[in-house]
Amino acid sequence: MHKSDEKLIDKNGLRMDGRKPDELRSTKIKVGILGNADGSAYIEQGKNKILAAIYGPHEAHPKHRALHDRSLLKCRYHMAPFSVDERKSPAPSRREIELSKVIRHALEPSIFLEYYPRTAIELYIEVLQAHGGTRCAGITVASLALADGGIPLRDLTVACAAGKVDGHVVLDLTDNEDKKGQADVPLAIMPNLNAITLLQMDGQLTISEFEEAIELAIKGCKQLYEKQKEALRAKYVTAEGEEE
């Protein structure tokens, strides 16, 4: 990964896409969009376009992986071959294997897995177009797919990255800012439980910059959390009084 000091913030303090340092990309979320899945959701965050779907709880396959006291959460984060500039092989890369694991661990604390012993819940995240911050947007949308599937949750999980670009701590990095910036800190929280469930970092930050980035990422998460709730209401509240 490159880390250079290229100008990414102009003299007015704005970023290449015109955002302020602490501004999220424009985000659209829709809940319940796939017919076959037990729960699904779609997010567009900037140029990121990501689908998430869940199946289950149902019988675990293979059976020996089933857990006697809770449901087994399986998670696959996957990027479509056409989601990036150079075609990506559809076979899971080492990056995707790692991200599937950390995303699973980011979502697990929010789910009442103990309600469904010996079953499995399958979670699929498909990145249709990637433009930086896909693991975070993937978590944000996957949590909604779980909610849409009627899985009991302690809280929604919402994720957002902060980082250091051109010497400034900024929110919600794009692909370009991640590659050319100095650091990236993806983070997920359960906003009502004061719990951080995903935290990674690459690049270089002083300890106080790191603390600042965490704080900013949490702020971003809280804004996205409002959008998550809006998206859930858009599906479930408008249906009230209608046929359903």
């Binding site: 790692e98 690049g203 270089q204 603390e211």
Partner: protein, 263 residues
């Protein structure tokens, strides 16, 4: 979780609550670290690390290869981890699973983001020929905290790496007599804390890992900047706990670095 683990969980949690641990350590103490370098003569660099009963061997091999298109004048660094079946009844033969991949990527991130290796010095012909540094982590005995042990072993092996002298003559790579010391500019050290019963302990043993809620690895480079972070495990942290782990990592990493890097 097995019944035995469940019983142990209670005991470990109780102990941690009183500021104690099963093996008698304090919450902020590492197990004894033993380091041996140059243990594999065929490798360009190697090191064996014992962290308590955890044992990791790292071999560095250097070969000729092509640069990535987006970094035509830089050598290539790759980290691979083998969780060898002889190291634990939990390990199985086969391609690296998600645990091996995650471990390799945490070690890789620390070394890469600290700009440990001067990759530009590994370029022989821009866009065409570069040196490729393979760091292969071989876990020999798993007794917890493979991350920190592997990161220490990888750094120690790199510091001990000598490559052949290569030159380009008429567009071809020629090997010259003598050796070059691999140029190492930074010394990243990973420090892992585990959360048990709401408290943080450093350098978790296998028994502690089996009952922990989550772990947090903070890697610091030699100037004290954070260069890699990874939360692992299905639990959660508060912001205060994260900053506590950072503080611990700051102290511990400089202690460990003194041991690994001899001026």
């Amino acid at each position: 979780m097995s019944m035995v683990t469940r019983i142990k969980q209670k005991q470990i949690a109780q102990l941690v609550n009183d500021g104690k641990r099963l093996d008698g350590r304090e919450l902020d103490k590492y197990r004894e670290i033993k380091l041996e370098i140059g243990v594999i003569e065929k490798a360009e660099g190697s090191a064996r690390v014992l962290l308590g009963n955890t044992e990791v061997l790292v071999g560095v091999k250097v070969g000729i290869g092509q640069p990535f298109p987006d970094t035509p004048s830089e050598g290539v660094l790759t980290v691979n981890v083998e969780l060898v079946p002889l190291a634990s009844p939990m390990f199985e033969p086969g391609p690296p699973n998600e645990n091996a991949v995650e471990l390799a990527r945490i070690v890789d991130r620390g070394i890469r983001e600290a700009k440990t290796i001067d990759l530009e010095k590994l370029c022989l012909q821009p866009g065409k020929t570069v040196l490729v540094v393979f760091i292969d982590v071989y876990v020999l005995n798993h007794d917890g905290n493979l991350i920190d042990a592997s990161a220490i072993a990888a750094l120690a092996a790199l510091l001990n790496t000598k490559t052949s002298k290569y030159e380009i003559e008429e567009g071809e790579v020629k090997v010259k007599p003598g050796y070059n010391q691999l140029s190492i500019r930074n010394h990243p050290i990973a420090v892992t804390s585990a959360k048990i019963n709401g408290k943080l302990i450093v350098d978790p043993s296998l028994e502690e890992e089996e009952v922990m809620d989550a772990r947090l690895t903070i890697t610091l480079e030699k100037e004290g900047k954070i260069c890699a972070v990874q939360k692992g495990g299905p639990g959660q942290f508060t912001r205060e706990q994260i900053m506590e782990a950072v503080k611990t990592a700051e102290t511990k990493s400089s202690e460990i670095r003194k041991m690994v890097v001899k001026d």
